[in-house]
């Protein structure tokens, strides 16, 4: 239960996406990464810009994979950051939008000025860690 596959559906067609939770060097912490899957080569690209007009749905799907993952690995901490600054900002906005709902189920921290702090709206973070309550 560490790799998930889903399909982005939109004007650009169906795009296969892969989400992978990988063990990190810090025990109990897993890195969350996701990207597009090239059907022909099978390679994965976390910098691909799909422009499939479903970024919010894609983000919601990644979060729901996080639910499944932390259901299975209930003590896991999940580390996430965007592949680019603008994507990290997009994730921050996505978390901020649903923070009240998300905090019912998860502890959420953001990395700011080299320190973890409890996630708050309107702050820029360079990375996030979440843990199922």
């Amino acid at each position: 239960m560490m790799v998930f596959e889903f399909t982005s559906e939109g004007p650009k067609g169906n795009i296969a996406k892969i989400i992978k939770f990988s063990e990190t060097a810090l025990e109990g912490y897993y890195n969350l990464a996701f990207g597009d899957q090239d059907f022909e080569s099978g390679e994965l690209d976390d910098l691909a810009i799909s422009n499939n007009e479903d970024s919010e749905r894609v983000l919601a799907t990644v979060i729901s994979a996080g639910f499944s993952f932390t259901d299975f690995y209930e003590n896991a901490w999940v580390y996430a950051t965007g592949s680019t600054q603008s994507r990290t900002r997009l994730y921050r906005m996505g978390i901020a939008k649903y923070i009240d709902e998300a905090q019912k189920d998860f502890l959420i921290f953001g990395l700011r000025d080299g320190e973890w702090e409890e996630f708050e709206k309107n702050f820029d973070y360079t990375a996030f860690v979440v843990h199922r309550k």
């Binding site: 239960m1 560490m2 790799v3 998930f4 596959e5 892969i18 992978k20 990988s22 990190t24 060097a25 810090l26 912490y29 890195n31 990464a33 996701f34 990207g35 994965l44 976390d46 799907t61 729901s64 994979a65 639910f67 499944s68 259901d71 901490w77 580390y79 950051t81 592949s83 189920d105 502890l107 921290f109 990395l111 080299g114 320190e115 973890w116 702090e117 409890e118 990375a127 860690v129």
Partner: protein, 53 residues
């Protein structure tokens, strides 16, 4: 059988186990991102839970 409403209210998605995805478990996909995560996590460490409001 669950209704659509019940399914939509579930937070945990319905996942189908697909053995073909096992190949990605051992493949070093998204390795660059994992390397960066390791660097950050090892230098910053885990969050301090007692700081929670």
């Amino acid at each position: 059988m669950k209704t659509i409403q019940e399914l939509n209210e579930k937070k945990i998605p319905i996942v189908r186990i697909d053995k073909s995805l096992e190949k990605y478990k051992s493949l070093p996909v998204f390795q660059e991102k994992l390397d960066k995560a390791n660097k950050v996590l090892l230098s910053v460490g885990p969050p301090k839970i007692k700081n929670l409001k």
